[in-house]
Symmetry: C2
Subunit: 302 residues, 2 copies
Amino acid sequence: MGEANYKAAVIGLGSMGWGAAVSLLNAGIETVGVDVRQDVLDKFKALGGTSTTSPAEAATGCDAVMVFVVNAEQTATVLYGENGAVGAAPRGCVFLTCATTPPEFAEQIANRLSESGMQVIDAPVSGGATKALDGDMTIMASGASTAFDKAKPATDAIANKVYRLGDAPGAGSRVKMINQLLAGVHIAATAEAMTLGIKAGVDPQTLYDVICASAGQSWMFGNRGPHIIEGDYDPKSAVDIFVKDLGIVSAEGNRQDFPLPLTETALQQFKAAQDEGLGREDDAAVAKVYAKRGNIKLPGQD
Amino acid sequence: MGEANYKAAVIGLGSMGWGAAVSLLNAGIETVGVDVRQDVLDKFKALGGTSTTSPAEAATGCDAVMVFVVNAEQTATVLYGENGAVGAAPRGCVFLTCATTPPEFAEQIANRLSESGMQVIDAPVSGGATKALDGDMTIMASGASTAFDKAKPATDAIANKVYRLGDAPGAGSRVKMINQLLAGVHIAATAEAMTLGIKAGVDPQTLYDVICASAGQSWMFGNRGPHIIEGDYDPKSAVDIFVKDLGIVSAEGNRQDFPLPLTETALQQFKAAQDEGLGREDDAAVAKVYAKRGNIKLPGQD
């Protein structure tokens, strides 16, 4: 196999990072997984991977380092903090920064990585845990073509679609930011629609079936609607994530002095869910904010 | 053909009513079209239909009367006003009320029609002008099964999908209302996303292509996004329509004391567009509100 001597590291084995790391192993690539949770590291080792809590140890001798931590602060820490990956990675190693971060941060960290002699792709991802496990995530990527060449064995293993959004770091994160704007507004709109339907006496499953085939459809309505109908708030993606991601969009709007009224409104709904102690529940739990204020019972609520 | 002696009337030959009337003719059904605009009546006559400005004249001897005017007030007028259809229709004629109206109104007018000896289906439609012309609209329908039987030749001619939402009038309009909540929020969200993308320097077509394949996708983003990218605000559906339809949703929220923050926010954006003189432009022109406030130029703006 062409990947015989290729070595990759995945820092952060959350739902997307875990899927990426497993997909790399499935492609026959030597892969080191990094996390702070020992049980996850043990599980990765049992699958044939190498495990460590040290980004530096993982990056040693690597061709590609993928950073799947949750935000900008953690990205900076695993790259340049204590036992950071950059100090140990060989010159020319390609770094993929995959967390959803402010576009400005994506640019800054890319410039810093370049100054450190590394290649870099601004590479936020989309697709959810199931697609990640199947090697089918989507990458919204920008960076130099030499970086894409260097990363190809790894990106081939984890993604079925890599959108090439130009040479400049930041472009990937800008598109991801807009995607999250829509995704977050649509999740809150799904909750608003389903709960008003319940209040008005419409059967939720019938409503779901009609809307999915009508002009009110969205990917999020199709995906999160069943969580509300089934009363299943086991987190596929948590409320906290959208407080963070819509917070990034909101901050960008403020920075650019650009009005984002729907973003701000949806963000307030997710923050209200967080205030209700629902931060770690599935993001569809924003429906519980509507249910409480509107005095209705959701499916599964007694 | 089974429809040999079947006679239908379509009151209101706007984009959806026109499509319904043409589809009825195409199915070989004797059809009378009603409108206030003589040029539209002439056009319908040229296609082989019968034309009149009088709902009463149109309803005489009819099996099915479809009311495609734009709102509740016009619906009441064409049914019970001067030259109203109900006074002239034969006993047992089926009326389909197809305008988007408050669910309460749909219930009241259905009860009144029943008291007048008529059959009735609460039958708001979806799908747009192109599908309407092809006989492929969707009907969100509720009413007695005898009414559906009586209407079948007509509904077979105009729709490819009739959702049966129970016996009670109002159920169809409730589902349509929820659909319009989502559709309206998604159009405004499309505008918010596309304009922030432009502000941030993202190429609109690239953004569109990525989002359509990602979790931020919606039917409205897919449909209205190109209007913004091409600067085409020729009205397929106008800003005024969503001021009306989100107004219905908002009023229902107030009536039920149910919080609808995204609906209210989107409604304000459409009202702002109306205030800018854009009421008759395509609803995607809500993007111009964002562009003005955010100080950017949209495609097609100099």
